[in-house]
Homo-oligomer: 142 residues x 2
DNA sequence: ATATTCCCGACTGATTTAGTCAACTTTATC
DNA sequence: GATAAAGTTGACTAAATCAGTCGGGAATAT
């Protein structure tokens, strides 16, 4: 069980953005340096974040990205959902006509994974970007 | 974010085993048919389960596998841990000397993933095989 | 003896991951 | 208006992981 780096990078980059957003657009270049993430990879990730309306872009010199809304309104689940294809831990539901064990019924453990997904999502739904940014600010000051 | 089928199959197969274990060893062949999982793949999985002392094997004709302890004592977390390489959602901790962002400090979001892991584990630690077997027995009767 | 079962390491094709590359367009500033 | 700094987009790729398969065992009930 694992999260791809794409998801992790997205949250890292947006936390960074939340901290530096105050003064104006933040370039991916800066985020790339501060967070040590490949610039070209970040571009890919921000494209997705833009499509999901989590950030907006300002082109040209002095351009960059900004959050579309306050960090206290952006959930971690929302970010992961934007860049990861799926949060579901298990793909039990490929063919609806056949059950997930290839038979006509649901597999043995279907309900367990449903519950697990709910459990994970409820955690990620409660985490807001502002919390991460705040926490990070504190830690940097120490 | 996803769980590999190996983990899912392991839990499915052990749930099946927990149900049929009562009368004596259960062959992988039977489990394979009932759960629709490749026999050869199951062999691989059960090797791991055996090494972690979750099941024991009885060789030869009429042989098969049995649980080493009561299903009410086997946690789902234990099963996943046996067959999956890791339950940690994020590998932030590759190089201990460098932080997980390649710098000397931990990444932005390190604590978040730690919390997420704890959250997931605490769920899986509370789930016992007996519950799945029981639930499944009920459902089959309907 | 033989069929049935577990044992174990090596192998493989497909998919996903984690990026890279090239060639744009837009805009601020000199 | 030239130029540099930024975002835009699609195609490409090396490496790793996944989801099994294969082959040749060894043990045991009948």
């Amino acid at each position: 069980m694992k999260l791809s780096t794409k998801g992790r990078y997205a949250v890292m980059a947006l936390t960074d953005l939340a901290i530096y957003d105050l003064k104006g657009p933040v370039s991916l270049r800066d985020i790339s340096i501060r967070q040590n993430i490949s610039l070209l990879y970040l571009e890919q990730i921000f494209l997705k974040l833009k499509n999901k309306d989590i950030v907006r872009s300002i082109r040209g010199k002095k351009g960059g990205y900004r959050l579309t809304k306050d960090a206290s309104k952006i959930k971690v689940s929302e970010i992961l959902y934007a860049v990861e294809e799926k949060i579901k831990t298990v793909r039990c539901i490929k063919h609806l006509k056949k059950g997930c064990n290839g038979k006509s019924i649901k597999c043995n453990t279907h309900r367990l994974w449903d519950e697990l997904d709910n459990h994970i999502n409820s955690f990620l739904e409660k985490k807001y970007l502002s919390e991460l940014a705040y926490r990070n600010n504190i830690e940097r000051r120490l």
